[in-house]
Structure formats: C-alpha cells, structure tokens
Symmetry: C2
Subunit: 574 residues, 2 copies
C-alpha cells in the first residue's frame, strides 16, 4: 500500500473497479436510496431540524466518507443517537426551528469534524475506549426510551418540550388535552401498518408471485410503502386542513450558517456536547464497520476512520446540515441491498441530490407522524433488558453501573449520564486494581510449579515467604501493596526472606517502584531480605538502572524454583 | 483484639501502661512541647490565622488522635501543606485576619473531619491512592516554592497578596519599595542564625561539655534558642516601635465560629478545597505513620487512621482552629524526643494548654519574621529536583507528569495542580493498559515452555496461532483487543485455530467479555476456532456460566502445552 493509498483508501478499491461492478452498484444504490430517504428525514426531525435537512446530510458526507473512510460497507449519514444528542446540545442556545438553531447545528457538525481530525492527528482514538459496555448499554436503552417519549407529541399533534424525563412528562401532561384527533388516528394507523408490514410484507410479496430473490430484496421496503400510502391518504383527505402536520413545501436551497453566532464563548459552550456526539458517533460507527469487515476478512483502520468521519462531518457543515456518522440500520440496509464497494455511497448521494432537485414536491403531504412512528419502532429495538440480566449474573457491580447510567440519562440528560457512567467505570476499575489479589505460594510437591497455598497442597518454608502479586504495579495500588507486604511480614515473625513472584506483573510505574523501595528498606530494617523472581522482559528493562535494583537487599532470580533452591540451601547452611 | 479495642486503640496500649512509662513519656513530652511551639505558631500564620491559633490546634486534636488513631508514634497538629491549602481555600471568601476568615477556617476543619469519617464509613480510603508519586512530588516542590515566595512579605515587612506565582510576584514588586529596614535586618539575622544552629549547635553543646546523650536530645532545640534570642532582641531594642511585626497581646479565648456563615452554598463552595486538604493530609500522615510502624514492626490500619484524623479535625473545629493532620517534622521530633506511646500526645497537649493559659505574655515580642524564617527553611528541604532526575531516567512520561503538575500548581494554584495531575495520571495509565503488549508465542524446543517468537527461537505451526495477552482485559482495551486479534488473523490467512494464552490476565470485565465473544463469532464466520489456555482460577470462576464459554468455538485447555498437543494432533489427523 502506498502512502497516498493509505490516506485515500478509495484509490485501492477504484483500482480494480470495472463496468460490471458499476452496473451492480447502481442497482443496489437505487434500492438503498429509496429506502433510506424516510429514515434520513426522520432523523433530521429528531435533531430538531426541518426533515429535509436529513437529505442534505446524506450527500456530501456520504461521498467524502466513501473516498476517505477505511470501511468498504459502512453507510454514513444522519443517525438516531447523534441526531438526538444534537438536539440536546443545541436546545439550550436556540429555539427549535429558528435560523439560529440551524446555524448552531451546522457549527456543531463542523466542530465534530474538526474534533475527529484532531483525535486522529494526536492518535487519541483510545479515548473512545473509555466507554465501557455497561455504560453504553444503559446509555442506549435510556436514550431510546427518551426518544420514544419525545415522539409522543407528534403522535398526538400537540406541543411539548424538554429533553429529560421529568420536563418531558410534565409538558406532555399539560398539553394532552389539545390532542388532535385526526393526527392520533393517523398515528395509530401508521404504527400498526409499520408493525404489520415488518412481519407480513415478505409473505405478501410471495403470495403476489414474486421470485424469492426479489422478495428478499424488497421485503425491507415495507416502510417505504407505508410512507407512500399515508402520504396519499393525507393528500386525498386533505388531512393537513384538519391539523395533521405535514412536511409542506421545502426550500430549494440548504440552510446556511449565520456567521454572527460564532464566538469563542459559543464554541466553548458547545464543546462538551460536540465531544460526546463525536465519541458516541465514532464508537457506534467503528463497531458496525468492524463487524462487516470481520465477516469479509477486511481490515478497519480506526485512525483512518477518524479521518473519514471527520471529513464527512465537515462536509455536513458545508452542506448546511448536522452531525453525521456511520449508522447501524443504514449500513445493514446498504449491505442487504447488495453493496459491494463504497461506490454505492457515491451513487446514492447523487440520487439523493436528484431527489432534492426535482422530487421534493412529492414530500408536501408526508405527515410527520409517520416519521415519528419510524423512529419509535427502530428505537424500541434498542431498549434491551437482556443485557442487564446477563450483567447481573456476571458482575453485580457492572449491572449497577448500567442502572446508574440509565437513570442518570433519563433524569439528567444524555451528556451527564455518559459522563457519570465514564467516571464511575474508571473508579470501579481503579478500585479493583487497587485491591490486588495477592497469593502466598508454595511448591507443588515433586514439580517446579508454585501455586496458591489456599487452593493447592503445597510445600512452604517457615523462613522463606513467596508472594505472587496478580496485578500491574502502579500508583493506584502502590500504597496498598506496601501495607499488605508489611502486614504479611509482621504476621510471620520468623521469616527472613520475602520472594516476590512477578509472573502477572506487566508494568510497573514510578509510584510502585518507590513503594517497593520503601518496603525493601523497611523490611531490611526488620531483618528481612526481599528477592524477585520471574520478572518479565519488558518490566526488567525498566528496572535495570532504577533505584530499586540498587537498593534491593536480596537477588533477582530467573525462575521461582531457582529462588527457593538458593534460599533454602542458604538456610540449611546457617 | 476486641471490637471495642478495634474502635478505641488506646485501650490496647493503656492496658500495659505503667508508672515508669508515664515518667519517661512526661520528660519526652516536655522537650517535645518546647520544640513544637514555634512550628505550631508558624503554621497557623501560614494558614492566614493569628499565630496563637496554632496552639489551639495542638491540644484537642492531639488528644483525640492519641485515643482513636492506630499509630503509636504519629504527632497530630498543624502541618505546613494543609495549612497553606487552608489559606488558599479560605482566601476567595474572606480577608485574612477577619473574624469571617477564622469562621471559614473552622468550618473547613469540621468539613475535613466529617469527610474523613465518611471515607472511613464507605471504605473509600482507596481514593487517596489516586495521587501518584510524580504528582505528589511535583505538587510538594511547587507548593513549597510558593510558600517560600509567600514568606517574602514577612522578611521585607511589606504587604502582598495572591496565592499563585504571577499575582504574588506582581504584588511583591509593587510593594518592595516600602521595605522596612529593621525587619529586613532581623530577617537576615534570623535566617542566618537558624542555618548556623542547624549545622553547629550540636558541636557547640559538645564544646560546652554536655554528655553526648544530652547533645543528641538538645541539638534539635537550636531553633527554639534562636526564637528566644530574637524575641529578646526585639523586646530590648523595642524594634516593634520601628515597624517590626510581633505577635503582640494574645486573646485569652479561642476564636469561635460565626454560625451565620454556614449555608449550603458556602459548604458546596468549600467542598473541593476541603476534599483536597483531607486527601493530601491523609496521605502525608499515613505515609509517616507507616514508616515508623514498619521500623517498630507495628501495624497501621488506614481505616482507623481515617477515624483518628477525622475526630482530630472535628476537635480542631471545636477548639476554634483549622485543619490538622499527622505531620512529618512533628512526628520526627516526637520520636527523637523519645516518645514510646501515644501518651506523649496527651501530655504535650496539656502542656500546651498550660502555655496558653499562663505564658502567652512571653510571646508578645516574638517577631513574625522568625516564624517566616522557620517556615522557609523547612520548606526549602521539600524542593527536590533529584526526583525529577530519577524519573527522567525511569520514564519520560512520568517525568512530564511531574513537570506539568509543578507548573500548574505554580501558575494556577494547588487545587487545580493536583486535579490536573490526577486526571493526567489516570489517562496515562488507561492509555498504557489500552495498548496491551500482545505476543505471538511458540514452544521452546524440547520443553513445555511457550515464549515470545520475537525474543526466543521457538517452534510455531502454520495453522495454530498462539497469542499471549499481557494485560487485564477490560473496557479500556476491549476494542483494541478485538481489532488486534482480527488483524492478526487477517494477516495469517492459513490459520484455523487461535489459542489465547491467559497467564497474565488477572481480571476480565463485561466489555472485554463482549469483545471476546464478538471475536469468537466473527472468527467462526471466517473459519477460525478460538481456544483458551492457562486461565487463572478467579478469572475462570467469572467465565463459568458466561456467554463466552457458551459461544466458544474451541476449548479451554488447562495448560498451553496440552492445547498445542491436542490441536496439532487434530491437524495431523485431517
């Protein structure tokens, strides 16, 4: 791979690209585009923006990612979670629907793009690892539930606001008496139809006599059919006159940013939100990309993914839309439509552009309630209690972590929930490593193996104590180590030699080094020599030349068995 | 040990306490009290309070710690670091010297006491482990330097304020022209005398013909002699009339808290400061206590230390003073004076009470400049560059951590410096563990040992790949692991079996479990079976019943050698 190919992965797949591939990808793109349009409109609405913005967010970002991203399958565009996080980041600063609101969303997309590129330049992708599985699980379930509750206003045709449980519920309760009956009926119809087509559309197509291969391809288009049908119903019955909200006429140009809003203060205020959108979007995207790459035995380069998604977000800002990322349902759709190369991303972007130029009048009567129904049904799938059940069996502590994250998101919002979750996971981990498992070991008779005295029948010596520390030695457990080693010695008044068996120690930092040095000196005062055994190569490299080796009262033994042989012989000599 | 004895350790040492011990401890206490008084006065001044408050802070706290603390040697009272941290916590809310200021300092002592007790109840003592050695080292050096710079105003007899480098320097520069000449001369005399007695007082006493044993005891009293001499000079020459600041007449009652200042808002605002004072004080105290306990082969119980110091701080609040803790120089003094039990803490507290009741007029002419000199000289010993040099050799990253902490304390203050240091150490550690050392291993010919292919000449198999992961598996490296294992497999297209050798894995969390499960499923899709070998007992306990074992495509082998034997035989059969 050349350097250029590394930075522009499109060069690799374009090299072997043939006319036959183009034909195949064009058909796949056409089907994908038709199916992805309702989803894109819905997610724009979720971000608090005019639904049509969802199409703008699906053009330039998709093309840029196809050229610069490292996944061959990932589809980039508006995604439910980042969309709703966008709404919650922008809402404190502007009223939904205002020009100001759109400008801030654009700024957010730009910041998210820049952040992704910065993370890539500084190789800080590892920061995304700080979101542990229980935190993500609690976060996604709670966010999905909040999103569904947020859709109720569209189902009832009422006003409501707030982005967390209590204000949302209060606001809904206050306005519920204004429910618009036609809207409610249409909502019930939409949800019921969507659930029915999901289950029965495939069988229906088979009954119509379509070949199985076409059925497999088209059965996913059920929602599109429901969208078309409900749009017709609204148009024919003029339901918009009865208070049913529709998309209406669509501006022919994308929103543009009002540069007056950009100030350091605004950027600083948006930064935490932008950062969390970036991290959450990136993690979701990479995990989808990786699962497809693994199936096809392709590689994913997380650093190149940061570049691809970063440019996609800058593209989103340039086309007047909001933060985008690689989406799960979008990518599944793409793969199911038969996409074999990122070319489908480029072709479908062009098709969406054509739609925007010539076909927006068709969307006039599209009711927002059907979009809310699409959102709610896809979100309902994300609320999972099976994760909690599994965690509960595996580790109660991690299960509580999920519950705390879930509740914090519901009550305090998505950002606070994530941050609380991350801090708690780090503290839990540090707590765990700061209470290291320390085993006294002895020799399994007749072998050179040394095992825990509490689990095995082993030989020990009254004057030589061997301790195996099952943890990296670093600041969080340095002082605990000090304490425990000293207590072990003060409980065994006879011992003259303490051997630290270092098989499970992969790293040692300056704090641990200092603590060990203290232990060595203090035990020397008390007449006990400290020895090391089975130190790993990389750890030994670090120790050489350090103060610990200089002040060590005992020796460093290559193996535990050599240590015991030498020290017990010495003892016999005395 | 009975339960009561556990909660009131004094019962243990009081049991064997005899009249002879009391005599010995009374002599030790008398000498200790005389020597500790100037230090206590100085540290109260450092806390921004009337010097006499330092004596109040040495009575009740010392008695309470003697009864409830677990160390037999630790001396509790005002300490330099926590005193200056008190000043920096209180200064934003009140003018030094005001009644308001004293009230807030009292509140701070009370909060610190409660926090210590809460940490003890919730067994959260491990939080103190988050301060790594480089952070503490940078913090102490910078704080000591700031304290010395803060004393310059006393040496020059001018006004100045600010608690970080830039405002302090600016303020000193603005007022330097007001320097009081008599004060400056007395300062030079004080510093020079202190330095001289430190070096030559022992020899001088020997020349006087004192026996060696008495010299060893009294040579540390040099500073007391200097204090007495300078106080005489001020009194005889009436230097206070020439602008030399003296302690003056001392109120006969301790300061009391003005209850009006207590509001939730004030408590919330003081909380971060109180928390840091508590943590820093506790760490310093425990480390001194431990070093003496180790020498004497006694135990320290960190949880009981939290109780002892917590009650001591509540005692400090009740006697109208400020946060206290176990001090390094105080404890050294105590041990050197021959203290053998916590009884010295109680006796010296009573002696200080007598001093307060009857001897404060003797302090009238005591110049503040001598106290500033005592502080500066003891702080100068804490500024150390040898730590930085050692760290630089051991780990550049940790050396930078020290430098960043040092600079942040100097420029942004002690609290910010500590917090930045802690966050960076945690990120450094997570960064390290999120880039685990992963080695491909093979068999050392003729043995059952498996070692890194890059360090040893070993036998490998084209279809069986064995990987040793040298790290705990948890959220921060779960995704990296996923990536690396997949890449390893995609680079070795022939392999059919992947064996994970788990010798260095001490823990596994739900995130890692999920990642491993994904790897297992994806590799199964690609025709590769995943096996485990040498899983440790506690890790295996966790895995049993988890989804990973259920979905594992391969087997769990007790030893690596059994795995290779089984898998290569199977291969030969095919």
């Amino acid at each position: 791979m050349t350097t250029l190919e590394k930075y522009l992965p499109a060069l690799v797949w374009l090299k072997g690209y043939r006319t036959a591939d183009l034909k195949h990808d064009s058909v796949a793109s056409l089907i994908f585009t038709i199916m992805v349009i309702p989803q894109s409109l819905a997610y724009a609405m979720l971000a608090g923006l005019p639904a049509i913005t969802g199409l703008y967010a699906s053009i330039l970002p998709s093309i840029l990612y196809s050229l610069f991203g490292s996944s061959r399958t990932l589809a980039v565009g508006p995604v439910a979670l980042t969309s709703v996080m966008t709404a919650s980041a922008v809402l404190p600063f502007a009223v939904s629907g205002s020009e100001h609101y759109a400008s801030i969303a654009i700024l957010l997309a730009f910041m998210s793009g820049v952040l992704l590129l910065v993370l890539s330049l500084l190789k800080l992708g590892f920061l995304t690892n700080l979101l542990s599985h229980p935190v993500i699980s609690g976060f996604i379930s709670a966010s999905a539930l909040l999103i569904i509750i947020g859709q109720i206003k569209y189902f009832l045709g009422i006003e409501s606001n707030g982005s967390t449980l209590v204000p949302l519920a209060t606001s809904l309760y206050a306005h519920v008496s204004n429910t618009n009956l036609p809207t409610l009926l249409l909502s019930v119809f939409s949800i019921a139809s969507l659930l029915l087509v999901k289950r029965y559309f495939g069988r229906f197509l088979l009954l119509l006599g379509l070949p199985t291969s076409s059925v497999q391809l088209f059965e996913k288009s059920g929602p599109v059919v429901v969208v078309i049908v409900t749009t017709f119903i609204v148009a024919i019955l003029s339901l918009d006159q009865l208070g049913v909200a529709v998309i209406g006429s669509v501006p022919t140009t994308p929103p543009t940013i009002n540069l007056d809003i950009i100030s350091w203060q605004m950027i600083k205020a948006l930064l935490p939100g932008a950062f969390l959108i970036t991290i959450v979007g990136f993690i979701g995207s990479v995990s989808v990309a990786q699962s497809y790459a693994a199936k096809r035995r392709q590689d994913i380069h997380p650093n190149q993914e940061l570049v691809g998604l970063g440019l996609a977000n800058i593209g989103a800002a340039l086309s007047g839309s909001f933060p985008v990322t690689g989406g799960f349902s979008r990518t599944v759709l793409n793969a199911d439509c038969g996409s074999k190369s990122p070319m489908t991303g480029i072709i479908s972007a062009l098709l969406i552009l054509l739609t925007l130029l010539f076909m927006t009048p068709l969307f006039y009567y599209l009711p927002t309630t059907i979009l809310a129904a699409i959102i709610s049904i896809s979100m309902a799938k994300l609320i999972s209690f099976s994760d909690l059940k599994k965690l509960w069996q595996f580790s109660k502590k991690e299960a509580y972590l999920l519950i705390v994250t879930f509740c914090t998101v519901m009550l305090e919002g998505m950002e606070t929930g994530l941050i609380v979750g991350v801090i708690l996971s780090i503290l839990f981990f540090l707590w765990h490593t700061s209470h290291p498992h320390i085993a006294i070991v002895g020799r399994v008779p007749g072998t050179e193996h040394y095992r825990n005295v509490q689990r095995f029948e082993v030989e020990t010596h009254s004057k030589v104590l061997t301790v195996r520390i099952d943890e990296n030695l670093f600041f969080a457990n340095a002082r605990v180590l000090e304490e425990q080693l000293q207590n072990l010695v003060s409980q065994n008044k006879d011992i003259q030699h303490l051997v630290l068996m270092c098989t499970a120690i992969n790293m040692i930092d300056a704090s641990a080094l200092q603590s060990l040095e203290k232990v060595v000196l203090r035990l020397a005062d008390a007449g006990v020599k400290v020895h090391l055994s089975e130190v790993k190569g990389p750890v030994m490299d670090k120790l050489i030349g350090s103060i610990l080796l200089a002040s060590l009262s005992g020796k460093v033994f290559l193996t535990q068995h050599q240590a015991i042989k030498a020290l017990t012989v010495e003892q016999a000599d005395e």
